[in-house]
Each structure stands twice: as C-alpha cells, then as structure tokens.
C-alpha cells in the first residue's frame, strides 16, 4: 500500500514547474485569443524532448523514460498550471498509442521520431455528431484483404494541435471495426483548416478526401484496433483531466494568496467565511479530484477492469472542479478577477475548453451509469 508520489515523481514535478515557469509565458496564451492559435515553438519542443518528457512513459528501449501513465499525468498537470499549449499532452497520448500498437514498424521508427521531437503527432477522433468518443465515429476506411491500400474520406473536428502536426492518428471504421490509422499531414487529399479554442489553443478541422494509406498504417493492439482506440481514448482523457487539475490547483492557490492580501472593511477578505468557506470547498474538490486522477492512472497501468469507469470518474469530477475553481477565482478576485491582465480568465477559458474535450461530465456519468447501474443483481 503506497498511494503517494514517489520521491522521483515529486522531483520531476518540481523540475517541470520551474522549467515551464521560466521557458513559457502565459502571455502567449493571452495573445492567442486575438491572434492565431498558440503553438509550442521548435526550441522549447526540443528542450521538452531533451528533458526526456516527450517519451516519459515510453519503453526505455525505444528511447523513452520508462515511467507509468501517472508520471505523464503529473507532467501534464504542470503543463496545465503553466498554461502550456496542449501539444505536449497530445503527443504523450499519441506516443502511448504508437507504443502499444502491434505494428512493430511504427514502434521502432515513428515513436523514436516523436520522442526525439522530430515529428509531432496528434489524434483525430471527434466528428460532428454532438457527442464524444469512439461510439460516435463514422469515418470509414475502405479497402479489403487483397488490397494493400486503405482509402479514407470524411471530416474530423476539434483535432488538437493540428496546425503543427506532422502525422494524424485518425480514428475510423474499417470492416465495421474501430481502429486508428496513421495519416501523414502532407498526404494527398489531406486538408487542414485552422480552428481556435476559447482559450487560444490550436484545434483544426481535418478533411480527408479519398486519402490513400498503406494497410500498414493501421494501428492495432494484438490485432484489435478497437481495444487500442478505447484504451488510447482513456489515456488521452486522463491526461486532459490532469491538465484540468493543474488549472484548478493553481487558480485556488492564486485566489487564496489574493484573499490573504486583499484588505476590505479593515481585514483581509480571506477572513470572511463567504470567501474562506468557498475556497475550502474548492480545496475539497481538488483533493478528491487528485485522488481520482491517481486512482485512474494506476488502474490504467495495471489494466484493471474498472479502469475506464475510473477515468470517466476523474474526468467528470475534474471538469466540474476546474470550472468551479476558476469561476470562483474570477468572483473572489472581484473586479481585478474580471480583468484581462490577470491569468485567472486564461485558466477559466482553458478549464471550460478542456471540460468540453473528450467528454463533458454528463457524458462520463453516462458511461459510469452503463458500467454500474446495469450490472446484474
């Protein structure tokens, strides 16, 4: 029984907090709200690779750090605190997908390129059906056994970090089964239309117009593409949950600090229970959220039966925690909380965006209801 971070994980978290604080400025996210979406510049990307973080949870044989999903989540939490663009978490999830694919060629070649920072990869999953997740996917990859080529046509939306991606892992239906297909950004028939999120993050619309890829582009897990996709979806989801935790926690900290300093009516506003009890409630939410996040990461690593439900629990809870924490941040800072200069609204924008990414709270509760409510007995 040991359910706390290891000394190594704590050390890595501290290094990440310092490094990101020095090398990335939240102003870049602020500016991106008016200007083109924010992306991580090449030099910083190279540094992230050099720190070993791009492959932190990949096998050491493949150049990775050999750490578990929790370690990746801890780093993403720091990225959330630092308001770093999502490219980092997107590539961690992509790396996980590639490493766990049965496709040896991808593992050996592509993964190394990703870990070295030479290629940026992203996941193209969601379409335009008003909901989320593998069950909504309609995009078809056609081609049969005798044919060595797959053909993809259709549109993906909300693809994270698509403007800088060199490769898209596209979720598709092939022979009625779900799978992931690797599609080069410069392949014939690929069109990338820039979109932007509320928080200035880079998302794109990806149009595939009869794009031809070799059959080897199929990512599977022991011959099973659907299992791989569902697992990747959960890994990606738990990383976004970690990002939400980062926003919640840093905003709680900023707001507590402000409440200690800001004086009204002759005393710090943090001495008023209207302020202090609301912050205490947020602290409770954050602590429960952190506990759920750790539990979900561990369950994924250990491939426990309830892992998808625990991921859904962490995402559902942290969606609400991050929204509550950042909205409270605006309110309790008062006028200043409503100003452009303070970072609180950047976290609010990020929280609102991430909460609607890879499933909102209702969606994930539905998943849990299907898991829990309908069991026999």
């Amino acid at each position: 029984m040991d359910f706390e971070l290891s000394a190594e994980q704590v050390a890595m978290r501290d290094v990440a907090r310092n490094m990101l604080g020095e090398r990335w400025h939240p102003d870049k996210m602020r500016e991106a709200i008016d200007k083109p979406p924010a992306t991580i510049p090449t030099d910083l990307w190279a540094e992230l690779s050099q720190m070993g973080w791009l492959g932190v949870n990949c096998d050491e044989i493949l150049g990775g750090g050999g750490q578990d999903i929790l370690t990746a989540a801890i780093l993403v939490e720091e990225a959330g605190r630092a308001l770093l663009p999502s490219t980092f978490s997107t590539n961690l999830a992509s790396a996980w997908a590639i490493e766990n694919s049965a496709n040896q060629a991808h593992r050996d070649g592509l993964l190394t390129e990703l870990v070295l920072g030479n290629k940026r990869v992203t996941l193209a999953i969601e379409e335009n059906h008003g909901s989320w997740g593998p069950d909504t996917i309609e995009l078809n990859a056609t081609g049969n056994d005798r044919d060595d080529t797959l053909h993809l046509s259709g549109t993906k939306l909300l693809v994270p970090d698509g403007s800088t991606a060199d490769l898209f892992l596209v979720a598709a239906r092939h022979d009625e089964n779900l799978c992931l297909v690797a599609v080069d950004a410069d392949a014939q028939g690929v069109t990338v239309n820039a979109m932007k999120r509320l928080d200035g993050a880079d998302i794109v619309e990806l149009e595939l117009n009869d794009v031809a890829v070799p059959a080897s582009a199929l990512l599977q897990w022991g011959g099973d593409g659907e299992s791989l996709l569902r697992e990747v979806y959960s890994v990606f989801t738990v990383l976004i949950a970690a990002d939400l935790l980062g926003s919640a926690e840093v905003t709680l900290q900023m707001t507590s600090d402000y409440a200690k300093e800001r004086v009204q009516f002759g005393q710090p506003i943090g001495s008023f229970q209207a302020v202090s009890h609301r912050l205490a409630d947020i602290l409770v939410q954050v602590e429960i959220g952190r506990s759920l996040l750790y539990g979900a990461c561990l369950a994924l690593t250990e491939q426990r039966e309830e892992r998808h439900a625990l991921v859904a629990a962490a995402k559902s809870w942290l969606n609400e925690t991050a929204i509550d924490a950042t909205e409270a941040g605006v309110q309790l800072h008062g006028g200043i909380g409503y100003s452009w200069e303070l970072d609180v609204h950047l976290h609010l924008r990020r929280a609102r965006s991430n909460a609607a990414t890879l499933g909102d709270s209702d969606f994930h509760r539905d998943q849990i209801a299907n898991y829990y409510c309908d069991r026999p007995g």
Binding site: G130, M195, L198, I203, Y338, W340, T357, D360
Partner: protein, 393 residues
C-alpha cells in the same frame, strides 16, 4: 390583487410601440455607424425629443412627470424590442436624480439638459483599486484651495471614460473624519488638465472599463454637490435607487428563448439537445426562476406604487437575477457540447461566438454594482436582522 396596467398605461404602450416601429428600425446600425458615438448620442436625443427620456423627472427639470407604471411599460417595451441602453444611462439613473434632489438650482440648469439630450456624456468615478466592496474606504484626495478643489488619486472600473465629457466622482475631503464623513461628491470636466484615462480590457476581451487618474486636477468649488464632506450619504441614496427589475426579466426571457431555439437545432446523434431529459429539466427550471423574478418584480412595483419603502429588497432581485443570468449563460455554453469551445470566426463555431460573450458578460453581473457577497450581507443584516459580521465599515 391584479396584474393589469391601466387603460392609460396600455395606451402609452401602444404609443411607444408605434414610435419604436417608426424610429428604431435602423438602430442595429448604431454599432456599425461610421461614428458610433455620435450615432448613440443622436439616438438618445431622438428619444428625448419624443419624450421618452427623464420620464419620471419633474417638468421643471426637463422631465415628463410620468407615472411609475409608465416607466415600467417603457422599460419593458425597450427590452422587448432589444433597444440597447441609452448612452448616458448611468447619468440618467444616478447623477440626474442626485442633482434633482441635492443639487443647486444653478447645477440643475447647467447639467440636466446635457444629461437628457446626451449632449454631455458622463462617467462615474466611485470605485478605486483599494476600495471595491468597501467603497467608503476610498483614498482619492480633494483639497480645497481657495475656490477650487485640487484632486489627486485613481479611479477604476469606470465605464465610458474615454468618451465622457464629464465625470461625477467621490473624493476624500477630510482624511481625519470617520471614513463615511469625510467624502465629497464632485463634478469634473474630463478635459481638465491632469485627467488621464487608461482603458482596461476585461476577461471577456471587451473594453468596457477604464482607469481614470487625477493628478493635481482643479475642480471649481461650485461643482460640489451638496455639502462638503456630505457626499457619501448623497451617493448612497442613489446607489440604492431601487427598480422593480422588470425590464431585466424581459432580457432574461429573451436569453432563455434563444437557448430553447438553439437546443432545438443542435443535433445529438439522431436527436436534438432539446430532447435530452436533463436539458428539458434545466430549461423548465429557468422558466420557473424567470417567472419567480417577474412576480417578485410585480411585488416590488406594487410596493413602490403604494409608496412603501423598498428597503433592501432590491438586493434579493440583484442576487437572484445575476445568479440566474449566469446559470442560463453556462447552460447555453454547455448545451453546445463538443463545439462549445470553438472560438469565433472558426469553422463550426456555434452562434458566431455569442455564447462566449454571453458567458463572460454574465460572470460580471455578480461583481459589478455590488458583489453577491455584499448582497448576502445586506439581506442578512437588513432583512433578517442578523448581527453584522465583525468588520470595519
């Protein structure tokens, strides 16, 4: 008990509608006009000339001496027709009544016509960086030197400052007096040397507010409203200027109706967002709360008509309506599902980004004009009679 307006009031409603339909057609063009400020001034002047501004003011002050119910009818019709607030709205609701009650005859003659016709636009200099909820702790100093006050200090969250001709402000004239008893209410020409305006951007990206800096700004002694050091009471009386909030109800109703229509169009698989039982429950809840607020407004209006003092009951409406506005705005955003975060001008953006703007606007409602925390204090202390929480105010 009845909820009927008198035949005269209903006739008045008809007159307003007719006038609006004849005159408000190109109102949407104001924002797009070459000189939107001039267009907004022109619109207020037009409204004024038609007799729809300063409705309850005495005729001697340029008003109409209309009834309270006529004012409600007018606000309802303006909200219904989605007419934007008048450019000089702050001066009309706070400074005007203050001058009528506390100003000198000379001040009234000098300033009221410009307020009504929008010939002079006013901004309000009350809040300061260190004085928000605790407004009387303000530190902007005004020192009387002969016939002039010399003002130094900083105001913040000032609407309209970059375009305002005048500012009504509170400044400390006696730093030794108890904090409520050393404040004066001054009128300052924004062109006076030493006044600097720095626009502030808000969390939603808009430029609604400014900081205003005063550096050795000279204000004639005659521009003090009421007694020197007697400004807090005067300001307080107009801060508490109570309204039934019925025009706010019309606006909320429009928000909900837009939400309903959006939900009916948003596809979720092969159904719509309006088919989801959870969403239906939410819309029904907002319908209930809007009706609650409307009937609360009728009660407030009845009180006003019967001459009963409104007391702290406006805090109830303010607290409840800002919360309701936020709930509706949040749900609209959440209804949009996966596409909720898509920014304006992007492909697939929902409602052209209006959901985001509405969300940020709504968040401001529980901060500006008295935070929800202060509303709670007011209700607890002034309606329930609970002891004050220990604080210095």
């Amino acid at each position: 008990m009845d909820l009927l307006f008198s035949p005269a009031d209903e006739q008045y409603r008809t007159r307003i509608r007719a006038w609006l339909s004849d005159n408000a057609g190109d109102l949407a063009l104001i924002a797009k006009a070459e000189d939107p400020l001039q267009a907004a001034r022109d619109w207020q002047r037009k409204m004024y000339e038609a007799g729809f501004v300063g409705l309850t003011w005495p005729k001697s002050c340029g008003g109409q001496e209309a009834s309270l119910t006529q004012q409600v009818v007018l606000s309802e019709e303006l909200a219904q027709a989605r007419i934007p607030h008048l450019i000089n709205g702050i001066a009309l609701t706070t400074l005007g009544p203050t001058l009528i009650q506390h100003g000198t005859e000379q001040q009234r003659q000098r300033f009221l016509p410009g307020i009504l016709s929008a010939k002079e636009i006013w901004c309000q200099g009350f809040s300061e960086p260190g004085a928000g909820s605790d407004l009387p702790s303000l530190t902007t100093r005004a020192v009387l030197d002969g016939d002039e006050f010399v003002v130094n200090g900083q105001k913040v969250w000032t609407s309209l400052a970059p375009i305002a001709d005048w500012c009504f402000l509170l400044a400390r004239t006696d730093p030794k007096a108890p904090k409520r008893e050393g404040i004066s209410y001054l009128l300052c020409d924004m062109k006076t040397p030493g006044v600097t305006v720095r626009p502030l951007r808000n969390a939603g990206g808009g430029f609604h507010f400014s900081e205003v800096f005063f550096e050795d700004v000279k204000i004639p002694r005659d521009n003090c409203v009421g007694e020197i050091n007697g400004g807090w009471k005067i300001a307080r009386s107009t801060l508490e200027h109570e309204r039934s909030g019925l025009s706010g109800v019309v606006a909320l109703e429009a928000n909900l109706e837009r939400q309903r229509q959006m939900a009916a169009k948003l596809k979720v698989g092969d159904k719509t967002a309006l088919d989801k039982p959870g969403n239906r429950q939410k819309l029904a809840q907002y319908w209930i709360e809007i009706e609650g607020l409307r009937h609360l407004g009728y009660r407030a209006l009845s009180d006003q008509l019967a001459g009963r003092p409104p007391g702290a009951s406006a805090s109830v409406g303010k607290l409840f309506s800002s919360r309701l506005r936020q709930k509706i705005a949040k749900t609209s955003l959440e209804l949009a599902g996966p596409l909720a975060p898509v920014a304006k001008k992007s492909p697939h953006v929902i409602e052209r980004g209006r959901l985001h703007a509405g969300y940020f606007d709504a968040l401001g409602y529980s901060i500006g004009g008295g935070t929800s925390e202060i509303m709670h204090n007011t209700i607890a202390e002034r309606i329930l009679g609970l002891p004050r929480s220990t604080r210095d105010d």
